[in-house]
Symmetry: C2
Subunit: 212 residues, 2 copies
């Protein structure tokens, strides 16, 4: 995305237009993919002209890269808020909550669309795969790992062992349902997600108390 000098007489106007463009581009790219989305369609959706698109972005590639990059870094605002309510509970309940949240997030429509687009355009933009994995999945792994490190229950574990247990936790959560969702078929129900989260939580606690 092109950037202007901050002391621009019309900075506010341009910021408004830019926000509309980025939002419309995100919707279009996630819905139709890179090839399927057209610059003209994005301009219409954003309520601007094509020329304005090109005044804000170098071209389609530039716009796409900017959109995907921001989409890979979701703002975890609401979740942090909800986490504060849960953080007082037992380790088992916290893990169950995190487990359900992770499944809901990864199987959500926005994440699914993003994964599809990224997988399609990985050849054109080689860094997308790594970026998407870190933003959509690795961030959860890191968050759980950091949380565990502060927990007295895991004080006796080595960092490597903690890493292994954390990784196993997420591995247990997503089975074939992930493929089903990506293929447009119904995934796990809410109850199934809760059951799986409960199972993963129990197994993690078992692993913590009885280290291999």
């Amino acid at each position: 995305m092109k950037d202007w000098s901050a002391d621009n007489p019309k900075a506010k106007l341009m910021a408004r237009k830019r926000a509309a463009i980025v939002k419309a581009a995100k919707d279009a790219f996630l819905r139709d993919g890179f090839a399927g989305a057209s610059m003209e369609g994005i301009a219409q959706e954003a309520g601007v002209s094509i020329m304005t698109l090109y005044r804000h972005a170098e071209g389609k590639d530039d716009l796409f890269a900017a959109v995907i990059e921001t989409a890979c870094h979701p703002e975890d605002q609401e979740e942090r808020v909800r986490l504060d309510d849960v953080l007082q509970q037992s380790l088992r309940d916290i893990l169950r909550f995190v487990g359900v949240m992770f499944q809901e997030r990864l199987n959500g429509s926005e994440t699914t669309s993003l994964l599809r687009v990224v997988m399609t355009e990985m050849r054109r933009f080689p860094q997308l795969g790594d970026m998407a994995y870190r933003g959509l999945i690795g961030s959860h792994e890191q968050a759980l790992l950091g949380f565990l490190a502060d927990r007295p229950e895991t004080a006796a574990l080595s960092p490597a062992r903690r890493q292994q247990i954390s990784s196993e936790f997420f591995n247990r959560l997503i089975g074939l349902d992930g493929y089903r969702v990506l293929l447009g078929l119904p995934g796990a129900s809410e109850i199934q997600m809760q059951q799986r989260a409960a199972l993963a939580a129990d197994e993690m606690i078992w692993a913590i108390t009885a280290p291999a």
Copy 2:
């Protein structure tokens, strides 16, 4: 794909050309996707002219549909052969073997490419998602279910319980590695796949002997 009357003077020639076309189209579509593959490129790869392509297929859509449909029905020849060697062993060893085979198949480059293409073109061809799931994943579930039904160890289980246990087995095999592979990142190592298969086998046997 267009079909000719079987009593065609040049049936053999056409069959040869058609095979070359289908193979080239499969390579091109799985490598470059629907939009990325060009009819001209497919013709060159197949060693035929563009016109011959259109004499064999109604158009790009028709060719694509034929390619994907056949790709979703892999011939399980070699695996059946290898299975005969394993079928004499213990249930645990059989399950471990099946578990490793399933992971290798699902994480293989051909299956990965196919899944990517299917996910991208699902909107254009709505039946692709279901077709791919049944061909690439559901077939394994059905095969294991059928195998279990003939096993004396599961004679006491209800069909529904057998279904549940079989489904859980595959759920345990594929974790986040499936996403990693689809995103072009390194998946599970051979040793990790064996460990996971061993774990899934043990848990299935435990579930069989101690029904919920």
